[in-house]
């Protein structure tokens, strides 16, 4: 079992390396992280936080968009691409279980995400600490951001595999992936905010809104990082509106979502008839 998963993962890494996905993911993360850390190095005295913690707060807002996007870009082709190239029937006649194929792909893509996230955040931290050695006190927040970003990425990888299995065509899978990204990380928040404003402190704001935030992996990720850093004050919009949600709830959502996404992906992949 392990041999087969590792063999699949090795192959996927070869493919991602040749398709320049590794390079693109790393470059995206590094460039955006550096831009943000440069912007975040503005005077911060008023907030009473070290510079790195402020950079982490900015990086959280960035990652909530960028990590799901990179994950979906890497995963939308995973099953639909095999179907369209005609490589899937042969693969499925091998003594390898379908979940092992997905696990191998997930392992490879997560490893690439870890490299990209590590490079991006590492560069941001290096620049910030070089400018202000006192910023090392923010390393804890950065580490928290790092592992939750990986979990967020894994969640969207799983969702990407599920969409890829459902679409069965690369073009359809790409469309679904972009639609889902827009929906979950952009429109979802706008919709919630609009509803909160219209509700004006009613039952929606107190009952439905917190659950709706926890149900979305991207919002749960942002919520967890901002709550843990007590940084809801610097956060705007949805993050700031939900400081009443306990930390353990957002943590649970962040941890459970990758597993849930993988189960969804396995179920969708099982239905694919080559």
């Amino acid at each position: 079992m392990i041999t087969r998963i590792l063999a699949t993962a090795t192959t996927e890494i070869h493919i991602a390396r040749r398709n320049l996905w590794v390079l693109i993911a790393v470059l995206l993360m590094v460039v955006f992280s550096l831009v943000l850390s440069a912007a975040g190095s503005a005077p911060t005295g008023a907030l009473g936080a070290d510079r790195l913690s402020v950079v982490v707060a900015s990086l959280t807002s960035l990652s909530v968009y960028l990590v799901p996007l990179v994950a979906l870009l890497m995963s939308f082709d995973a099953v639909a691409g095999e179907v369209e190239r005609g490589t899937l029937p042969l693969l499925l006649t091998y003594p390898v279980a379908r979940w092992e194929v997905l696990a191998g792909k997930l392992l490879a893509h997560t490893a690439i995400l870890i490299v990209a996230i590590g490079a991006g955040y590492g560069a941001a931290a290096a620049v910030t600490i070089a400018a202000d050695p006192a910023a090392v006190s923010g390393l804890g927040a950065l580490w928290r951001l790092t592992w939750t970003s990986v979990l967020l990425g894994a969640t969207f990888l799983g969702i990407g595999y599920a969409l890829s299995s459902l679409a069965r065509r690369v073009s359809g899978a790409a469309g679904l992936a972009i639609g889902l990204w827009l929906g979950l990380v952009v429109l979802y928040d706008l919709g919630l905010l609009a509803a909160v404003v219209a509700d004006n402190g009613g039952t929606f704001t107190t009952r439905v809104f917190p659950v709706a935030l926890l149900a979305n992996p991207a919002d749960a990720f942002r919520l967890f990082n901002l709550t843990a850093a007590h940084a809801t004050a610097v956060a705007s919009g949805v993050g700031g509106a939900a400081n009443a949600i306990p930390l353990w709830q957002s943590l649970t959502s962040v941890v459970i979502w990758p597993l849930l996404a993988l189960v969804l992906a396995a179920l969708a992949f099982r239905k694919v008839e080559p």
């Binding site: 041999t3 087969r4 590792l6 063999a7 699949t8 090795t10 192959t11 070869h14 493919i15 040749r18 398709n19 190239r85 005609g86 490589t87 029937p89 042969l90 499925l92 006649t93 091998y94 003594p95 390898v96 008839e273 080559p274």
Partner: protein, 301 residues
Amino acid sequence: MTWMTSTLTISRLTKTFGGVAALSDVSLSVEPGERVALLGHNGAGKSTLMKIILGLIAPDSGQISVCGAAPGKAQARSQVAYLPENVAFHSALTGLEQITLYMRLRNADPAGAMELLDRVGLGAAARRRIGTYSKGMRQRVGLAQALIGRPGLLVLDEPTSGLDPVSRRDFYELLDALAADGAAILLSSHALTEVEARTDRLLILSGGRMVAEGTLPELRREAALPVAMHLTAHNGYEPDILAALPDAIRVNDALHLTCTQEDKLSTLARISALRDKVADLDVIPPSLEDIYSHFSRRDGQ
């Protein structure tokens, strides 16, 4: 032909797609060491039958046993090798990487990947991306992956398409060695003349039905197609021959005559009685193509 010793046994298999019968009541068996050719038009059901054997799609009814297990089960998959029609690979991988993956998925030692590629004549191209390969080279990668381990059953869908004549000969030599080793081989083909000499038995599918099964001589006898004879007369003797053989007709400069298989020798005897008047004689048995069309047309095609 018992259930226990056959590598592949199929009985009364039926599969319909959206109300259209792709396979109806198909039964067959393949023994260890036997090379069986599956013939049929496009849409006759060859690929569907193969996909059911591989467990890729489920039949509507009927029993199948593949290496003693149900199709698609881990035990069956570990012993069955497949070469799909128009085999495809990820173009970013090299031949060596692709074969290494397949060997590890089959629990074979990937150290033998290079040797395997050498066996199919791809040693020199092993480290190039498959995207740069010709169709024939991709077909060889497909063939190499089908040779991994010691498969008990090889299911090969149009295995020689895209191969040049020399590669075809090499391919059949590889198959002969595998069959001598005890592997059962089921291959589909359009190239009838090619499988004739290289397989032990022929199966003909038509419209999802098994319309004929047997060795070539058996099928020849069953079809009972007429034998054609073409005679060339010495100058001026044509009327004499036509008088002696009233069934003959004149076509261009030759006289054409057909007879049944049973009458072949007596007809030849009548012709040899005219030996002073006949310049040349060609005896043309029904071709494989004739036999094939006879069976594949017979069942309402």
